[in-house]
Amino acid sequence: MRIIAVAQNTFREAVRDKVFYVLVFFGLATLVGSKALGWISIGQEIKIVKDFSLASVSVFGVLIAIFVGTSLIYKEIDKRTIYTIICRPMARYEFVLGKYLGMALLLGVTTAVLGIVAAAYVAILGGNVDATFFYALVLIYWELLMVTAFATLFSSLTSPILGAIIVFSIYVVGHATGILINLPEHFDNTASKTVLEFMYYIVPNFSNFNVRAEAANDVPVALGYVVWSMVYGAVYTGMLLLLAAVAFENKDV
C-alpha cells in the first residue's frame, strides 16, 4: 500500500515535469513527420514511417527514462523532502520500489500513447499493423523498464548529470554486445575470448529487445523469443532494483 502511494506520487510529479511533455511532443512530431522522408525515398514510405514511429517511441522513451529516472531519488535528497518520508514507518526499499513503479507507470502510459498513435498512423497510411508491430512495442517498454532500473540505481548513488551519462553509456554498450561474442577466428582458444564471452553474459544485452527492423519489414517474430527476452529483462531489472534498494539502504541520509 505504501509502495503504491509513493508510486502514485512519483507518477503525478513526473507528469508535471515539463521535460516529459517536451519529449512526448517531439516523439509525436517525429512520428508524424516521418512521412516526409517517405516522399523522397523510392516506394518504401510505409517501411520508413514504421521505422521512425518505433524509433521515436524507443528514443524518446529512453530519454524520459534517463532524464527523469536519474533525478528520481536524488531530487528528494537535494530538496530534503526525503526526511518527511523516511521518518514515517516505511522501509527504504519500499520507497525505492515505489519510485520505480511510478516511473514504470509513466513510461507505460507514454509507450501506450505513442504506440497507439504510431499504429493508427501506419494503418491510416495503408500499412500492415500485425503482431510483430505490437511485439516490438512490448519489447521497447521492457527495455525502458530495464533502463529505468539502471537510472533508479544511479539516482541513489550519484548526481543526475553523472547518472544520466553513465546510464546512457550503459545503454550504448548494451546495444553493442554482439561484438563480444562474434569474434574473429584468431580469438579461438585464447583467454581473451573466454573473458569477452563472460562479459557478454554480464553486460546488459539491450539488443534482445530490438525487433523493430522485423516489425518494419513485416518479418514474423517467434512468440517464444519475445517471452524469453521478457524473462531476461525481468530478472535483470529485479537484480538492479535489489542493488538500488541496498544502495539507498546504506546511504547516509
Partner: protein, 334 residues
Amino acid sequence: MRKLAAIVVAVLISFACTTLAQKRADTIRAENRSEEVLYFPNERLLDSFTCGHSSVVADILWLKCIQYTSQQFHGDFKFTLLDRMLNTITRLDPHYVDVYRWGSVFLAMLKRDNDASINLLKRGIEHNPGRWELPFEIARTYVLNRHDEVMGAKWMAVAAATGEPPKFVIDWAKNLQQRHGLAEVERGMWQEILQNSGDANMREVAQRKIIEIDLRILCEVMNEAAERYEAAKGSRPARIADLISESLISGMPMDPLGGEFFINSKGMIQNTSLLDSILGERRIVLQGFIKKFRDKHGRWPASLDELKSEYSAIPTNPYIDREWQYDVSKGEVL
C-alpha cells in the same frame, strides 16, 4: 524603444551574416560533393553502435544512396561507391527488400555491373527466402542485360515457386521454360516420382503430368504448323483438319486423358485436358480470394467484379472465350 530597435537590428544583422555564411558553406560543399560520400560510415561500426536503430540508419543511408545515384546519373556516371553503400544498407537491415531490388537495378542498368547486381540479390535471398521479387529480379537481369534466357528461365521458375508471386510471374516462368526445352527437366522429375514414389496418389499425379507435358509439346508443334499455314494462306486455319489437308501435320493427335484439341477465337491451338488442369488450379486460387473477402466483409462478394475491385490478382479463366460462373448464394465458382 531605442533599445528594442537596437535588438531588432542586431538580430537582423545576425541573420544576414548566418545566411551569407550558409550560402558560402553550401557552395564549398557542392564543389566537394564527390568527396562527401567518402565519409560514408563503415557498416561494421554502424551495426554495433546504432543503439538498436540500425533499421532507421538504413533508411537514412538509403536516402543518401538515392541522392548519390542521382548525382552520378547527372554527373560523372561512375557509381564507384554504389556497391559499398548498398552493402552497408543491407547489412544494417537485411530485410530491406526494396533496397535489394532497386539497388540491383541501379547496379545493372546504370553501373552496368551485372555480377554485383546478381550477387546483391543472392544475398537478399539468403535473408528473405520467401520473397519472389528477388529471384524475379535475377531472372530479369539475366534476360534483359545478359540475354541469357536459359538462366533467366531457371530463376523465373524459382520466383514462380517462391511466396505468393503475381500471375504475370507464373506466366513468364511457364513461357520461358517452354521456350527453352525445360519441359524435359520437368519430365525427368515426374518420371523419377512415378518410378520411386510409394504413394499411389503421387504416382497418379506424376502419370498425368507426364501426359500433360506431351500435350503441351503437341500444342506447340501444331501452333508452329498453324504459323506456317498463316504464312502460306494469309490467315490462321479455321479447323485443325485444315493443317492435315495441307500436310502440315500427319493426322489428328490423340489425347490419352480424353480431352480434345481445338482452335480458340485468337487462332491458337489448345487442348481441353491442359486447360481443365489449369482451370482447377485457378479455381482454387479464386475460391481463396472469395474466402478472404468473406473473412473481411462477413459476406460473399456480390459478383466477381466486386472481388476484382478489391484484389488485383484475380486469376482469369484459362479458356479465353469463357467467363467464370459464380454462384453468389454459395460463394462458389462453378
